[in-house]
Symmetry: C2
Subunit: 263 residues, 2 copies
DNA sequence: CAACGTCATTCGGTCTTCTGAACGGCCGAA
DNA sequence: TTCGGCCGTTCAGAAGACCGAATGACGTTG
């Protein structure tokens, strides 16, 4: 008889409580790099300590979380590493993209990413490093707000305005002084992107990084590829040049995927 | 009243059943690249379909598993990608190892790995690709039997014979014709490794790949680094040369870790 | 066309887990 | 030392998950 509480939290009664909590623990430890104590996690999740205790014991026994030497702070365990990479191996887009990304990285000499829209964020699925000493930081599995990335805008530009408004969290979070947070300006950018065929990020999530991105799948996918570089190596002329290369790579990858889908 | 069953399975009663099942699902979908139906998973886990159904619904709602277009086969979901990379970022060894691995890869020109012993297997935590066109396949998160890898033998050589016998599953699994499966021969190899300071894998997990590995942490860690190459590029003389480079890299990384631990 | 196999899904009684409060250990402050 | 705060841990009542059998939906085969 906690229907009031459940309704207030918006949880469906079809959820298995401890299953959901296991996943919440993993997500909590995943977004924070830091280690957390049982009490801290219980507070963050609004769950009784005693309930969480039993769950963490189960997870610890299976090495999905581990305790630091002092025995009081939990972190992600070794077993968790297996699943993430399994997602990548089982995914058609990621496994087909390898050679295309290699070629694009080779051609441009800059950092190349494959990303996927997941809710309001973009997840990096694959990357290729730049050849230059000055590199941007990124990592597979990392999440960035979609509205502040080239990858995100490339995918979002495929939807109409109403759909975009439904998918994002408003107001848009500001990451740098250049982040576009005004709704009208943002939607105008998406319209421009749709016409042009490629999206631009001009220092909107990392100061000094410019990025060009193109969506995959011919208008209905959640994936995009991008090429990023410091402003010092990416003036307007170079941006157009890179945009051509990214567009071609996106087309050839989309074609590969289409063949796979038909078969 | 299932104490008999529980005892027969060796499960502690302190485990939370659905929590353990969530983890089992993730591990099952993780080792198999393939997608599985609910019925297949229920059979593989010896769990009633109806119970698993509720759990999978919970996991699907949170994108930890996803259904293929037909709606009948489950695979790992996008959220699972987050945790694996978080483990790597939060780990001292992995985050410190980067520059050392870069340098070793640069110096040898061959594939370099950082691995950790987990039970009977070794998990790759980081890798650097070879510069050559002919490359070995490997991936962060992948697990290989410890007894058939240089990394595993480097770590295991730190333990005495009784400890090794306790830690491995006997009889040793054969992966290639060269895999050492005889207990005496295997223990003799470890003794040799201990004296020499570095371990060798001569086509024991992949035909045609030779590998040199050195343990980190000065005798009490679970980690090791290695350098692998096809036999065609790794004759006995080259092996000794590479072993020197790997040993030096391991020492400098161990020193870095010791400083961190003291502080 | 019908019968079958396989699949996900539902349902209510039973049994497990969840819960909140109380406990014991540990550290730093007074 | 003694106190206070915080940690993980335990326990018995209360709430919810688990299970097996039955159902419905699909695609395939005879």
């Amino acid at each position: 008889m906690e229907s009031v509480v459940e309704a207030a939290r918006g949880r469906k009664p079809e959820e298995v409580k401890s299953a959901a909590r296991v996943l919440e623990v993993l997500e909590l430890l995943g977004v924070q790099g830091a280690r957390l104590s049982l009490a801290e996690m219980a507070a963050a999740m609004s769950v009784p300590k005693s309930s969480l205790h039993a769950i963490l014991r189960t997870m610890e026994a299976r090495k999905w979380v581990d305790l630091d030497p002092s025995g009081t702070r939990y972190g992600i365990g070794l077993k968790a590493l297996l699943t993430g990479t399994a997602y990548l191996e089982g995914d058609d887009v990621t496994s087909l993209a390898g050679p295309v990304l290699d070629a694009l990285a080779e051609e441009t000499g800059e950092a190349v990413h494959l990303g996927r829209l997941d809710g309001t964020h973009v997840v990096y699925l694959a990357k290729r490093e730049s050849r230059h000493a000055l590199r941007m930081y990124s990592a597979v599995g990392r999440r960035l707000p979609a509205h502040a990335t080239g990858l995100g805008k490339a995918v979002l530009s495929q939807f109409d305005h109403a759909e975009v408004q439904r998918r994002l969290d408003w107001p848009l979070e500001r990451l740098t002084p250049s982040t576009v947070t005004d709704p009208d300006a943002f939607l105008a950018q998406l319209a421009e992107t749709r016409l042009r065929g490629w999206a631009v990020d001009d220092g909107e999530n990392s100061v000094d990084i410019r990025c060009v991105a193109v969506a995959l799948g011919g208008g209905q996918g959640m994936d995009a590829i991008s090429c990023s570089a410091p402003k010092s190596r990416m003036d307007d002329a170079r941006l157009e040049e890179v945009a051509q290369a990214v567009t071609e790579a996106a087309h050839s990858l989309s074609t590969l995927l289409k063949r796979l889908g038909q078969h």
